[in-house]
Amino acid sequence: MKPAGFAYHDPQTVAEAVALLGRLENARLLAGGQSLMPMLAMRVAFPDHLIDLNRVEGLDGITVEQGVLRIGAMTRQRSIERSAAIREACPLMTEALTHVGHLQTRNRGTIGGSLCHLDPSAELVTVAAALDATIEVAGPEGQRDVAIADFPLGFMTPALAPEEMVVAIRIPLWPREHGYSFMEFARRHGDYAIVSAAALLVLDSAGRIARASVTLGGVGAAPLRVTTAETALVGEAPTPALFRAAAACCEGIEAMEDPQAPAWYRQRLAAVLTRRALERAWARATGEAA
C-alpha cells in the first residue's frame, strides 16, 4: 500500500500551479488527499507528477456577500462544517457535511477536491447541484465560470481541461426563511451514500410553495436535479400527499447498479428519501422543526 514514485511539486500561487499543469505530462493535483492518497496507495492512480495545492496562497476562505456564498477550493470540509456564516446562510451544506467521512478526513478534505473527484454520491456535489452553484476555474487564459449543471461530463469526470483547476465555488443564497433538508442512506456512517436527497422549499405569503429544489445523489453518474418533482411542487399548497406525489417522480429515474445496491433499490430509496426530505424542509420552512 505504498504509492508508486512520482515527482512532487508544491507551487505557491495559482499561476504557478496552472503553469505546471500546462508543462507536465500525466500530472495530478493534490488537494486534501482524502481520495487521491488512497488511490495512489492502491495504485489505481499513477501520476508522474503530483502538484500539491496545500501551499498555494489565497485558495481558502469563506465569504458571504450580496446574497452569494463563496468558498475557496482549498477550504477544508471541517472549516465549512464549523462556519457560523454558512450555518446561518446555507444550512443545507452544514447538514450535508455531517455525513461526509469522519472528523479526521474532514480536517483535511477540501470542497474543491470533492467537486473535482466528482464521486456520484459525494454530498458536497449534491449540495452544489441543489443550490445551482457556479464553479470558478483558472487556466492559462485566465478564469472562467462553469455552471454546476455543466460541470460533470460523465462518471467522475469534471469539465476541466488538463491545464485547468478549480479555485472556488459560488452559491447564490436562498431567502433566509427557506426550508431545507439533506438525507442519505449509507451502510455505515461516513461511507459514501447509496442514495442521498437534498430538498429546499420557499413558501409564499399564502403558504404555497413558491420555489423548490429536489436533488438526488448516488442515483446517476452525477447528482441530478429532479425537475419533474420541482414542477409538481411549485404553486401548490404543501401537504403530505403532494410530497408523496412529487417523490413518486423519482421512481422512474434511471438508476445505476453496483455491488452495493441494484437499480430498483436505489429508485425506491430515492423516492423515500425525497419524501422525507421534503417533509423536513416544509417543517423547517414553517418553523415547526429546527
Binding site: 500500500m1 512532487y8 508544491d10 482524502q34 480536517n107 461516513g190
Partner: protein
C-alpha cells in the same frame, strides 16, 4: 523516481529535520525515519484510523498525508500526549482505568482523535463520542469500554469528580 526532500517540522514539541522520499506518507516517516513507532499503520488507505495524529492540533490520518506536506507544521503523536515525567494524559489514564484497550493497535488513533474532540466538546454525550470515533476501527473492545473511557476522561479534564 526516488526523489527525496529534506524537511523540518516540529514533532511532539521538538524541532526535527530529516530526509524523506516525497512519496512516503507521514505515518511511515514518523515510524521509520523518526523512530516514533507509537503511531500504528493499519490499512494504509484511510479507513481504519489507527495512524491518526494531530497536525497543528487537528486529527488527521497520517497515511493520507505525505511527509513533505508536514514540513513547517506541528505534529503530535501518541508519544507526545503524556508529560515528560511519564504522567499519563487524562485520556490515557481513563483508557487504563476503563479497559479502553485490549490489543492496543487502535489506541494511538483513538487517543489522538479524542484529544481534539474533547477540546471542542468538553461535555459530550455518549452518542457524540461514538460519532467522534466512528472513523477509528477497534476489533477487540466492542467500543463500549472506549466510550466509557472517553466520557470519564471528559469528566477528569473538566475537573469533575470521576
Amino acid at each position: 523516481m526516488s526523489e527525496t526532500r529534506r524537511i523540518t517540522l516540529i514533532v511532539n514539541g521538538e524541532h526535527r529535520e530529516a530526509e524523506t522520499p516525497v512519496r512516503q506518507h507521514l505515518a511511515d516517516f514518523l515510524r521509520g525515519t523518526l523512530g516514533l513507532t507509537g503511531t500504528h499503520v493499519g490499512c494504509e488507505h484511510g479507513v481504519c484510523g489507527a495512524c491518526t495524529v494531530l497536525v497543528d492540533g487537528h486529527a488527521v490520518r497520517a497515511c493520507l498525508m505525505l511527509a513533505v506536506q508536514a514540513a513547517g507544521h506541528e505534529v503530535t503523536t501518541v508519544e507526545g500526549l503524556s508529560l515528560a515525567d511519564g504522567t499519563l494524559h487524562p485520556l490515557q489514564q481513563a483508557f487504563c482505568d476503563h479497559h479502553g484497550l485490549q490489543c492496543g493497535f487502535c489506541t494511538p488513533g483513538m487517543l489522538t482523535t479524542l484529544v481534539e474532540f474533547l477540546a471542542e466538546h468538553p461535555a459530550p454525550s455518549e452518542e457524540e463520542v461514538r460519532l467522534a470515533i466512528s472513523g477509528n476501527i477497534c476489533r477487540c473492545t466492542g467500543y463500549d469500554s472506549i466510550v466509557a473511557a472517553a466520557l470519564a476522561a471528559a469528566r477528569a479534564l473538566r475537573g469533575d469528580a470521576a
